[in-house]
Amino acid sequence: MRKTWTLSLALTLPLALAACGGSGPAGTTNGGGAQSGGTIKIGSLHPLSGAAAADGQQMDNGAKLAVEAINNAGGIKSQGGKKLELVSADTQGKPEVGQSEAQRLIQDGVVGLVGTYQSAVTANVSTVAERNKVPLVIDVSSADSILSQGYKYTFRVQPSSTVLGTAGAQFLDQVAKAANQPVKTVAVLHEQGPFGSAVRDAFKAEAEKAGIKVGPAIAYDAANVSDLTTQVTQVKASGADVLMVSGYYRDGVLAAKAVATVKPPALKAVYGVANGAFDLPQFPKEAGAAAEGFFDANYHADMTNADTQALAKLYQERYNDQIRTGAVLAHDSVKVIADALERAGSAEPAKVRDAIASGSVPTLIAGNGPIKFGPTGENENATPILMQVQGGVVKQVFPADKAEEKPLYPAFKSQ
């Protein structure tokens, strides 16, 4: 029997040790501990390592800058000028890690969560938030399914896939008609996941309303694709005058390179909708001349806004990097929670949730107005704007009140 006991001990010991190691700094407060310290904690959950680390770090930095700004302006005034504290956690892009980190932050006493970029992680974190009755403000994660679960504690600042696709089609129609060259046929190239498919469906429905023919629609697997020349050749064979592209960064660059190689003669413009590449500052750098003239209808930081410019400048100084829209969204999401704290006059998560639901917060993202959540938690004023690469720089071109430059359509001289 001695061995049995030693064995059991050997088994339980590491578990106990591991548990202690894991709990390290967390053990101070337990649930509702927000009032105990001198600060109010907000959780930031982003992929700080893994494939999406670049975006995750940007977003975490954006949230940090928001907290800093609020604290410098005197903290939460309705609560005696209490300072905010941002507690950052790394989801590693993995739902399980996101779940236990969210659990840890909640146990740590955060009054609200901001995150998380990947839809699968967000889906998990939103259930944790719902079940613990702590609000989650989604900065980036477009999947429609997250907000269709009837959750009360989940809000989303960025526009949904459906809004992006619909507005994208409207902008295209308006820009082309303004140039007196209405669009006849649009070919669609999209990543095959739920994101790309949802954007395609919404885009197609709206475009057909405007009398634009949509087809062919070609899907690709964003995780593995290493060349899109064949797909662009299919577009060339179809004779479409606009190519709509919806996907992520790496595949967006491949699409641009393929278009530059194949040069479909009938093509007047490449038009991204919620494209993860075409509106990023590094896209023209990487794709070079191939990027010139590309449109993207996407949610985007409003660079015509002086506050956004100031934030971008601060970000550049602090982190030596150009700010991305994700960071601005995270920044705004923290502002949403801070505003709710101010109006609720309490740091109780349930009250913060109610205040978020009834709030109206000015935003640095180009949209139809302040951040205001509808009954499902969707930001009702979220909308994309249209950008175009002009002279190697991404410029806002449409609608007119957000435009830095005029849209150039057709983007390509007929070849």
Binding site: R2, T12, Q99, Q107, A120
Partner: protein
């Protein structure tokens, strides 16, 4: 598992131990351990309790893997297939047909076992071994992932959300988020899997499987129907791992093709067994206990580093580097795994 007989240990003074005794000891150890662990979720804060549940899911997957690849000697690099089948079957039955996750779990076991038998039959029929067998299992798991990603039948890449219930329920395996019930169910399932693997190894089927692993030709020559026992082992192994998948869905309330069938899932099934000790009863459990929280521990330590390492704070990626380094060190220093090495020391004494 022939423990010390060369030195006259006090316990064996009563004579040569019965061949079954070591296995009974395992059963006693399982029972003791289970009782010791029952109060754990009541002690741990909720975030650590959720890590503990994750550890048990980890262990369960790996107990399944160990049966096929450890005791059976057929190296599977595609246990994500069975994990995913368990997860998707129960999620599909629950969301589309309102069936209890317990029923889904059973259905998932059947489906996974059938799929394993099919893969096994093809792989053994065409005499795949070693790395080739591993790559074939990997390919099947990947094909399932790609199929699920593009099939309307299982909701494409969106996957399934488990609908939240207003009340707690054992029948629907849904409780308050910090409820200890999750841990207890996972513990119960893990203990059941351990008992099954103890019984399997001491059974005729288990002995035949091990004989076929050690020398297939000899086993066939003495009349053991090698194919039948190998398929049986694979089916059992798949069924156990599928339970982990079904429970995963109920605990995390969400599944998509990558979470279910991704190659990282297959690695997660292998990791605990190798770290703990391949082809041992306790290996997968010990490995899961060590490796499960390791990620969280390195992340925690580096989040609030000791003064000497302060310059590293806030650099992302470092925790994973530390994790990778520890992984290599453990595998290199303890090639037979933690339990395997300890057992070897004991028997040498």
């Amino acid at each position: 598992m022939t423990t010390t007989t060369d030195t006259p240990a006090p316990e064996t003074a009563a004579g040569r131990p019965l061949p079954r005794l070591p296995w009974n000891k395992h059963l006693v150890a399982i029972a003791v351990l289970a009782v010791l662990l029952v109060p754990l979720p009541l002690i741990l804060p909720s975030a650590q309790a959720s890590v503990a549940v994750r550890v048990l899911i980890f262990a369960l997957m790996s107990i399944g893997w160990n049966m096929m690849s450890g005791f059976g000697g057929m190296f599977s690099f595609g246990h994500a297939a069975y994990f995913g089948i368990g997860a998707y079957t129960s999620a599909w039955l629950l969301v589309e047909h309102r069936a209890s996750p317990w029923i889904g779990m059973l259905a998932g076991m059947v489906m996974a076992a059938a799929f394993a038998a099919l893969i096994g039959f093809l792989a053994l029929r065409y005499k795949l071994r070693g790395a080739y067998f591993a790559l074939a299992t990997f390919a099947f798991a990947e094909m399932l992932r790609l199929w699920a990603t593009n099939s309307d039948f299982v909701n494409r890449a969106v996957g399934y959300h488990v609908p939240l219930r207003p009340d707690s329920s054992w029948w629907w395996i849904q409780f308050e988020p910090a409820s200890p019930n999750y841990f207890w169910i996972a513990l119960g399932l893990t203990v059941a899997a351990l008992v099954i693997s103890v019984q399997f190894v001491r059974s005729r089927a288990g002995q035949f499987t091990k004989a076929a692993r050690d020398d297939e030709d000899a086993a066939a020559a003495v009349g053991i129907p090698v194919m039948r026992y190998k398929l049986l082992t694979m089916a059992l192994s798949a069924a156990i791992t599928s339970v982990a998948g079904a429970f995963y869905v109920q605990y995390f309330l969400f599944i998509d093709p990558d979470l279910a069938f991704g190659s990282s899932v297959s690695i997660q099934a292998i990791l605990p067994a190798v770290i703990g000790g391949v082809a041992t009863i306790w290996g997968p459990v010990i490995g899961a206990v060590v490796m499960g929280p390791l990620n969280d521990v390195t992340a925690t330590v580096l989040r609030n580093p000791p003064p000497a390492l302060e310059f590293l704070q806030g650099r992302s990626g470092l925790d994973v580097i530390v994790y990778g380094t520890l992984l290599i060190i453990i595998v290199l220093l303890l090639p037979k795994g933690i339990y395997g090495t300890i057992r070897q020391r004991w028997s040498r004494r």
